[in-house]
């Protein structure tokens, strides 16, 4: 019972508050013209110009901070020969000095000297011999400059250093991998670049019986587009 009374009182208060706000809103425009009407004879009437302001939306400027492309090269898998590697890369240019970069790649490792000389059973199956990696990291455009072709042509270029971390899947397991490298980027067109990269993928591996640090050097050529 008490509850019902409280609800009644509250709703009554709410209705009153609503009404008062309505009357206040209505009263405002009525009250406003009064002084203007009273002094119409003496003070000049301000005329509101009936011109609509033009909304100007300038064209958006094309920003090109992303760069993506494909990679081909050779990868030396430690103890397992040098093989062709295919990959892809994507980069975001934060400013003229730094960029964030992601790379992926895949290669099929060959036979180790042990397997070749002993002639025994292979250490790895074909699927374990597939070397795939990804790495995410940063690059620093250390030496921006130009490459001169003859006397009349100059192409913008940069020598950069990269550092990244990621994972390598090889010999039946994923391995935490640090990737360090240096590269040369040459802009053939404003939007098209050719990269020459040297990288080292470093990870721990125990495939030959003992845990060791494996260095896998990679030299690649990439074609990338800015967008």
């Amino acid at each position: 019972m008490e509850n019902r009374i409280r609800v009644l009182l509250l709703s009554a208060a709410l209705v009153m508050a609503g009404c008062s706000s309505l009357t206040w809103r209505d009263a405002k425009p009525e009250a406003a013209p009064e002084p203007a009407g009273g002094g119409a004879g003496e003070t000049p009437v301000v005329i509101e110009p009936q011109v609509e302001r033009r909304e100007i939306k300038p064209a958006k400027i094309d920003t090109e901070n992303w760069e993506a492309g494909l990679t081909v090269g050779s990868l030396s898998v430690e103890d397992f020969e040098v093989n062709v590697v295919y990959g892809a890369r994507i980069a975001y240019h934060i400013n003229e000095d730094f960029f964030a970069e992601g790379i992926i790649g895949q290669s099929d490792a060959g036979l180790s000297s042990f397997e070749r000389l002993s002639g025994g059973a292979p250490l790895l199956t074909d699927s374990e011999r597939r070397f795939t990696y990804y790495s995410l990291g940063f690059g620093w455009n250390a030496l921006p400059g130009e490459i001169f072709l003859g006397g009349r042509r100059a192409l913008n270029s940069t020598v950069y250093l990269t550092l990244g971390a990621g994972s390598t899947r090889f010999a039946g397991g994923d391995r935490f991998t640090l990737t360090a490298g240096a590269g040369l980027r040459v802009l053939v067109r404003d939007w098209l670049a050719v990269h020459l990269d040297m990288r080292d993928h470093v990870h721990e591996i125990d495939v030959l019986g003992k845990n060791k640090t494996s260095h896998n050097y990679e030299a690649t050529l990439s074609l990338t587009a800015f967008f």
Binding site: R54, I56, P58, A59, K60, I61, D62, T63, E64, N65, H93, I94, N95, E96, A100, L136, F138, N141, P144, G145, E146, A154, N156, A165, G166, S167, G173, D174, R175, F176, L187, D190, W191, E204, D206, N211, F226
Partner: protein
Amino acid sequence: MARLLACALLLCFAVAAGQARAEGLEVIVVDPYLELRTGPGRGFPIVHVVERGERVRVLKRRTDWFHLRDADGREGWVHKSQMLETLVPAGTRMQIDDPAREDFTAHRREAGLLIGDFGGANVITAYGAYAFNAHLSGELAVSHILGNFSDGEAAAVGVTHVPVPEWRIQPFLSMGTGMLRIQPKGTLVQTPARTDQFAYVGGGLRAYLARRFILRAEYKEYVVFTDRDENEEANEWKIGFAFFF
């Protein structure tokens, strides 16, 4: 046939790219002069100068550099600092809306990449977050755990709370849950993989770097609910970069 198609596609792309380059935004130079460089960087030489009052076309932008073409068709790159005062033909300032410090306080979406240590193993985490308000946001994260004795993947959903979003370096608290799959590494014995649920609590710091970039460091305590007699506990620390948009 496929080669022909590829050629046609490439041609279309080239034509489209060419058309896009012919457009651009016409602006009037307000700075005393603009220095046109051969490339988008402070080390490239200045080869032309455009004076105040001249009209130039902004073709594209790369990081803080604008590629311009003047009325005589000469092209070059100009730094943002010289473009801030420049007007569009309608008489208004050219809009260069770059994210700034204020957007760090009020941003909605965030994504990043962290690297660290999870119970003695290396961990790489990618995450995305959506802010419900300035204090509270929801997060989704996937992790790749790479250890000497086991590998694993984890997916987590959680919430983070930022008590003071106005600060440049923001402390935050987080909690959440997810699934963890661990595959023990064995050269001799093949052990089956385990999938368990986990819960975490943690905290960390987010620091505004520049533009839309954040440095993030965090620590988390995990409890993994195993089907054995005892639950497992693990702690994790990570550091990395994120950006907001």
